[in-house]
């Protein structure tokens, strides 16, 4: 089975560390990069097309929604954010899932198993 390539986008280092630790427990996921801004994300997307992006909404001066407009919609986007006020907007923008910080490991497991099972 080929691993799913994932990128973590968050402007807080500790938030990235958190998610990375959780994802490391899932052998079906390979983290190919972690970045802190929209520009760096675009660079990494051009270098190696990821399957999943874990995306925070508040990114310094930008928002995760700015990034969505610039990327191919075949890439699955999972929002990881502190609060659910943007949830509806996220799904309108074709988000695959919406996780809340601090991420519940059980909830993350559910997200990943859905992606693999239904190939969404």
């Amino acid at each position: 089975m080929t691993k799913l390539k994932a990128v973590i986008v968050d402007d807080e280092r500790l938030a990235r560390v958190n998610l990375k630790k959780l994802l490391e427990k899932h052998p079906e996921i390979e983290i190919i990069g972690e970045v802190d801004s929209c520009d760096h994300t675009l660079e990494i997307i051009h270098q190696c097309t990821p399957d999943i992006i874990f995306l925070d909404i508040q990114l310094n001066g930008e928002t995760g929604f700015d990034l969505l407009e610039k990327i191919d919609n075949t890439i699955r986007v999972i929002f990881v954010t502190a609060y659910d006020e943007y949830a509806i907007k996220a799904f309108e923008e074709n988000a695959t899932d919406y996780l809340l910080k601090p991420v519940n490991p059980q909830r993350l497991k559910l997200t990943l198993s859905r992606i693999i099972k239904y190939d969404i």
């Binding site: 402007d11 807080e12 280092r13 500790l14 938030a15 560390v17 958190n18 630790k21 801004s37 508040q58 310094n60 001066g61 930008e62 502190a82 609060y83 006020e85 943007y86 907007k89 809340l100 910080k101 601090p102 991420v103």
Partner: protein, 356 residues
Amino acid sequence: MLSEYYKKHPYFFNLLIVLILLTTVRIVDWIVWTPPAPGVISQIILAHLFEFVAGLPLLSLLLFSYHWALKKKSKILIISLVFLFSFLGPTILKIITLFLEQIFRLRETFTITFDLIEKITPFGIVYFLSLSATFYITYSRLQFIRQKNATHKAETLAKDAQLKMLNYQINPHFLFNTLNCLHALVDEDKGKAKELIVSMSEYYRYTLNKNQQKTSIANEVKTIKKYLEIQKTRFEEKLEYEIMLDDILNSIHIPSFIISLLIENAIQYGIKSNEQKLSIRLLIKMLNNTLVISVSNTGKIIFPNPANDQNIYRNGNGLDNIKGRLSFFYADHYSFTVNEANGWVEATIKIENIMA
């Protein structure tokens, strides 16, 4: 209808009522003490109505000059005006009345004599003193109401400021991002995780317990330090801050949460307008008897746009609240400005002659 006009022009209404009363008393007094021939009554009433009409421009003059004297805040000026009106007012009033009577052919001619002035003066003094007294009573009553309203407004604003701070702390972004950060720190650096828990507790304790209008600079700055430490743990090298405070200023009391609200704004808007690193600077100093509080952040001024702001937990940026409370406590002796220059946004509060 009438009550609305009364609220708009309370002085005029009160004085008018007194004027009507005085005229009525004079008419009744005349008729009772010197019963006139039946045909003359209407003439007498008419004469007094002329007196009433003549009183109106004097009334306006009195209102205008008393207001002017109050603005100048000079007691001597007010007292001299009262004397001036009491002694000259009756004479002027009589002359206008006589003049009106002549126009309407109630009187053939008249000459101003000392005898005439002497005769009218005692009642005239009472007449004008009553008007002055009415003015003063109206003035003090309005002052009292204004004072009560201002105190009430200040209390509301203080509660509002506390609510805004609470809103920010209970703001899900701040709370859950900090918890998320704590989650990572537990593995990475236990010491730092413990520090963060203590900072959060102290920070929350300050605003949850305090319900005071004013607080010492020391207290306010202590909380700001906790808040900045929490944000520093989250944003790490992306945030740097500097606090410059002269220790002798620690005991000065200022309206609570004012600096906290400015710092919170500096972080909130600074993060949005800085792509790389955000610097925050707090400077509190005394300059020629004026307390200067300056909060600066790198970036640009961003005006809050309620239509675009999706965050329902934020209600304005608190600047109106800050201005409102400063104006209550310091009237005209303060200034509040926000400037942008050389890549820095600076909010400055200056308070003159503040007491330690």
